[in-house]
Structure formats: C-alpha cells, structure tokens
Amino acid sequence: MRLRQKKILTAYVFLSVPLLFFIVVRFYPMVYSFWLSFTDWDLISPKKNFIGLLNYINIFKDEVFMKAIVNTLKYVVFGVPAVIIVSLYLSLVLNRIKKFQGFYRLLYVMPYITPLVAVSWVWKWMYQQPPIGFINNLLTIFGIDSQPFLMSTSQALPSIVVTTVWVNLGYCVIIFLAGLQTIPQEYIEAAKIDGANRRQILWRITIPLLNPIIVFLAITQSITFLRIFTQVYNMTDQGSGGPLNSTKPLVLYIYQKAFMSFDMGTAATATVILFGIIMVITLVQMLILNKNIEY
C-alpha cells in the first residue's frame, strides 16, 4: 500500500464514524417515517398494516391539515422577510457605531439564547388583556383601544410571528455583521471618491456583496419558520394552535396526530409532506436568490 492510499484509507476510517452516526440517527428514522406514512399504525398497536396511499388521499380531505399548510406558509411569508429586513437594518446601524458595539450585539443575541419556552410564556403574558397585559396597557396609555391579540383568529398568527422575529433577530444580526465586515473598505472608499451617496453605496455595493449571506439567512430562516412549533404550542390555549386552528402550523398538527390522537400513520404522512415543502422551498430560493457578484 502506498502512502497516498494509506492516507485515503485513514480519511475514510475517520469519516465512517460520523457517517455511521448519521445513518443510525438521521437517515434510518427518516426512511422509517416514510414507511410509516403508508401504514395505519396507531402508536400503541404492534401491528402496522400497509394501506398504500390511503393516508395521502385522506389527509388532503382534512380541513385542519389544509389550514395548517396555509398557516405554515403564512409564517414563512410574514416572518422571513420581516426578520431579514429588520436584522439587515439593525446590523447596518450597528456596523456604523464603534463604541459599545459588543454590548448592543449581546443585547440582540439575548432573546436567541433564551429558552424558547420561556420567551413564549413571557410574550403570552405581555399579549394578555388589560389590566394584566403589558402591551395592551401600553396601548391604553396612548389612548388606543386594547387588542385581543392571541385571542383573535386574525391577530393570533401575526402576534406569534412578531415573537419569533424578535427571537431570531439576534442570530441574523450577528451573521449580517460578520458579512459586513468582509466587504472590502476600498470599494466603499472608491465609490465615495466617485461621488456615490450613501443610498447608492448601500444598494450598489453593500447589499449585492451581502447576497450570499442573504441567501443563507433566507434559507435557514425559512426552514425555521416552516418548522415553527414551540411558540405556538406554548402561546395558544392548551397548545391547541387556536383559536379555531388559526395559528396551527404543520408541526403542531403532526404532534397532535401522533401523540394526542395516536394516529401515527397520518402524522408520518404530514411529516413527509412537510419534508417535501421544505425541500421545494429551499431549492427555489437557491435558484432565485443565488447570484454570483464580482467586482
């Protein structure tokens, strides 16, 4: 055996450990849940009868499932642009200040590192009706009528989006700041000498050069919002995704089917569909957003 071969062999030996881990911990359950989606397993029964595509046919007749899909897409459509625009703005502002930058950065990261369950409950209490709810009390001070927030079928979902955006801001700000620091200062100086104003610099230089970061965040944030669960489970009455299913995302639907109604077959079917949605959205984003920019 030559040295080169030896080296390659060593590499494979080392790689096999994580590979084995991935096969056992990631791929096996994935394949298994694909298989479950073709069965009528009820969690407790040892029997898993193969029923073909019946679950897939039935699930699209389920109004609650369709509602959950629409809700999930709403979370993405409202949440992802909001979190990216706000965090981009914040990081641009933060990038300009030199003093206390670390302190501010810490401030924005704090929500992200706080356990989501705690965050959800604090926000749930802030959304409460007067005289308990902080936000409603604030509105009252400014003479605005109190709002039902989580108790309304139209406001509950946006309220949860706001909480989630607030949580994810810190992470996105950090990534954007790192991206901003990679933009060569010469480009900006050159543009300034050429007489470009701030807006032109932002739109012609900064944002195009941040494109890979924006793509990365758009994809990871989309996946985060597609898999939203903890906030909804903790912020709605008894984790129901209510009122009237208005906030129920797919993952909560899966959870309820699997562990409250013991309908594992349907839960696995919904999981496979969610997997499909995530994959499609990610591919589309990569195709649309990924552009090579060179100067």
């Binding site: 407790i44 029997k47 409460q128 009706q129 109190s146 209510g242 009237l244 562990f259």
Partner: protein, 420 residues
C-alpha cells in the same frame, strides 16, 4: 474444611433460587406522581405480606411520554403485567391488543355493581367486556372564593345552588375597569379546562338532553333536550353577561389561584394545588342544579391486565389478586388520605359525605357520568371550537352547536370504523 464451605455456599444458592422460583413476579406500571408512587409502594408492601408468594415490581415514568413508553415496551418485550391507565384510553389499548378483559369469575357484574359507582362500570366497558378497575375517581364541583364573596356583599358561606343563582352571583362578582375590561371574573369560562366536561355531561343533561347514545357511537346533544340552548347559555355568560372569557389571566386555574376569579368549576385533583396557596380562602360546593336536575362528570385512572400476564397462569392469578387488592376499601382509604383522590366505592364514599372539602365531590359521584372518549383531545377541541365560533366569530349558537355535533360524530365514526 474448604469443601464444606463450597458445599454450604452451593446449598445456599440452591435454596435461594428455590424460593425465588416459587415466587411469582409481576410488574406494575404507572406514571410518576410523588404521592401516588409512595402510596403504591406502601400498598405493595402490604400486598406482599398478605401474599408471600407474589413479588410486585413497581415502575414509574414521566407522564409526558406515557403512551410512547408503553408503545415502545411491547416490541421490546419488557412491558408490565398490570398497568395504570386513563379510562379514556381503554378502547385504544384494547383494540391495539394490549389489554385483556378482567376475568369474569373474579370480576362479576355483581362485584362491580356492589363495589363501585355506576359510572365506573360504564367507563371500563368496551364491547360488552370490562377491562380495568380504579382505585380512586375524580369529579367536578364549584369552587368559590370566600373573600371575594364578602367584598361583593354576598354571604361567604352560601354558594349558589342553581344555575339561575350561579348566573346572578357571577354577575355581582364580576369587576370591570373604567373601560369595561374585566379585572375580576365572576365565573371562569374555560372550555379547554374542565369547562368542556361541564357543558357535555352536566349542562346538556340539565337542559333535558343526552350527550350520546348508550353505545357511545352517536352524538345526541344536538338532537335531544334543548339542543343549542346549552351553548347559548354558556356563551351568553361570556358575550352578554360578560362574567368571564376563555383565556382570562391565561387560564381558569391561574385566575382562581390569583384571586382574580370568584367562582370556578374544577376537579377534585385541584384540591392539593389550592391548599398550597396562602391567603386563599375557598369553599367547594356541589355543581348548581337546573330544573331539579343534578349532574356531574367523573373520570378516573384504572388498573388493567396486559397480554404480558397471560404468558403464565400464575402471573395472571397474581395480577388479578393485585388489582382486587388495589381496589379494596382499605386501599381506597389510604389513597384518599395520601393522594387526595376520591374512593370509587359508594359505601366508603358515604363515610366522607360530611367532609367540608371532599363531601361535595363525593355527593356528586352519585349522579356522575363518565364520558366514553375515543379521542379526548379531539373531542375537547370540538367544544372549545364551538365556544370560540360563537364568541369570536359571532356565529349563532344553533349553527356552532350543529357543527360541533357533526365534527364530534366524525371523530367517533373514525374510531369505530378503525376497529371493525
């Protein structure tokens, strides 16, 4: 000398293995709740003293993953012989081939009728067979806050006894701020808590209806009695009388604990929680009656025998003995004292009728019903949605009630079709 020792040790090993072999070992599973665990341990000791040839292994696990744990234990072959489960799960466990019927020679109809409240045998029956026995049961009652009664100028020792009084008291006990926001609820309105049981088993019957057919396959609450008047009565308290609303201070229990709700309908399992709150002076009364009709909702956890125990006739015999022992009046007494749950035996219950705390719950058991749930969370959701539709969407109670019945019928149909 050495050889003698070896012989002695061998003899010892032989003897101990002999005694072990003579003992039948059964495994008992329940979820972890400290007082329950301690009490069962105590009961097992007593049981083993009475039956020296039986050994009981007691296993507990967190409530949160109860069904997952059970499900994964079957293929692994490490399941229990006797299991403690919520009565509402019996259909699911039976159809999954997990539970076996209680042997008829040991648990006759007469035995069940003489030892347990009538709703028990209904709750543990599935397709004409009985599957599990409770140690204790839970029922609903009206909790009231004595201080808040006083503040409203009401007699703190006189809770409402009829629905009319309940509404009247609730109105007087509700406090609003200048803008009309409720700052203190007269009565909690939380269908996601015990409210949906109150609607289904209590109000429906008091309004002259029946919630389900006796075989539990068909929803009847929209077709019998006053129908949607039940939902109208409930939602009027929220929208017209404005004595409370779902989600006030997050939930009914929090509101009552914080002394921001004057009255609440809750279960006997709440006694322990409320006892811990300093400065909360509460009383508990039977649920208010309406047109002379009293009703209540009862639920329970019960002990059933799994297919595991059938592998060995000795095991089955031990399991039968153990279940009978757990449901004996002596065990129930200890259970009430330690855990605070109500005895399932009517004769024993009568001894506590005058108890200021347990009395109201126990008297309620006489006329209580245990809903035959096929999917409790889905069936609860139906009631929550019915109330939300009227309160949030302004849909008429007639339509919301009819839709609720249709939705719940779907849940029932789904279940019954899956087992045939």
């Amino acid at each position: 000398m050495k050889r003698f020792f070896v012989l002695l040790v061998l003899l010892g090993v032989l003897l101990t293995s002999f005694t072990f072999a003579a003992k039948t070992k059964i495994t008992y599973w329940q979820y972890f709740y400290e007082t329950k665990k301690i009490t069962i341990d105590q009961l097992i000791k007593e049981f083993e003293k009475q039956n020296p040839d039986i050994e009981v292994e007691h296993v507990t696990f967190p409530y949160a993953n109860y069904n997952q744990k059970v499900a994964s234990s079957i293929p692994a072959g490490v399941g229990p012989d006797v299991i403690n489960l919520y009565y509402g799960w019996i259909p699911k466990y039976v159809t999954s081939g997990y539970l076996i019927p209680l042997p008829e020679e040991d648990f006759s109809k007469e035995y069940l009728q003489s030892q347990f409240f009538s709703f028990v045998s209904k709750g543990i029956e599935f397709n004409g067979k009985y599957y599990a026995l409770p140690i204790a049961v839970r029922s609903l009652a009206l909790f009231w806050n004595k201080k808040l009664f006083e503040q409203a100028g009401l007699d703190p020792e006189k809770p409402p006894t009829t629905l009319q009084e309940l509404v009247e008291y609730a109105k007087r006990l509700t406090v609003y701020d200048k803008k009309g926001n409720i700052v203190q609820e007269g009565l909690t309105m939380q269908p996601s808590g015990q409210g949906h049981h109150w609607i289904r088993e209590v109000l429906v019957r008091q309004f002259g209806g029946v919630p389900y057919t006796s075989d539990s396959r068909t929803v009847l609450y929209d077709k019998t009695g006053a129908g949607s008047d039940v939902l109208k009565f409930y939602t009027d308290l929220i929208t017209v009388d404005k004595v409370g609303y779902p989600g006030f201070m997050n939930d009914d229990v929090t509101a009552f604990k914080a002394q921001k709700a004057a009255m609440t309908i809750d279960g006997s399992f709440r006694i322990g929680t409320l006892n811990k709150i300093k400065g909360l002076e509460w009383g508990v009364a039977e649920l208010p009656s309406y047109m002379g009709v009293k009703s209540n909702f009862a639920s329970f956890w019960a002990n059933g025998i799994t297919t595991n125990a059938t592998q060995d006739p000795k095991k089955l015999e031990a399991a039968v003995k153990f279940i009978k022992f757990l449901s004996s009046p002596e065990s129930m007494k200890l259970w009430l004292k330690n855990v605070g749950e109500l005895p399932a035996n009517p004769e024993l219950a009568k001894e506590y009728y005058d108890d200021p705390v347990y009395g109201a719950f126990l008297r309620g058991l006489e006329y209580a019903h245990a809903t035959f749930f096929v999917d409790e969370s889905a069936q609860r959701q139906v009631m929550m949605d019915a109330v939300d539709k009227v309160v949030l969407k302004g849909i008429s109670p007639e339509v919301a009630w009819r839709e609720a019945a249709e939705e719940e019928q779907k849940v029932l149909d789904n279940f019954w079709s899956s087992i045939q």
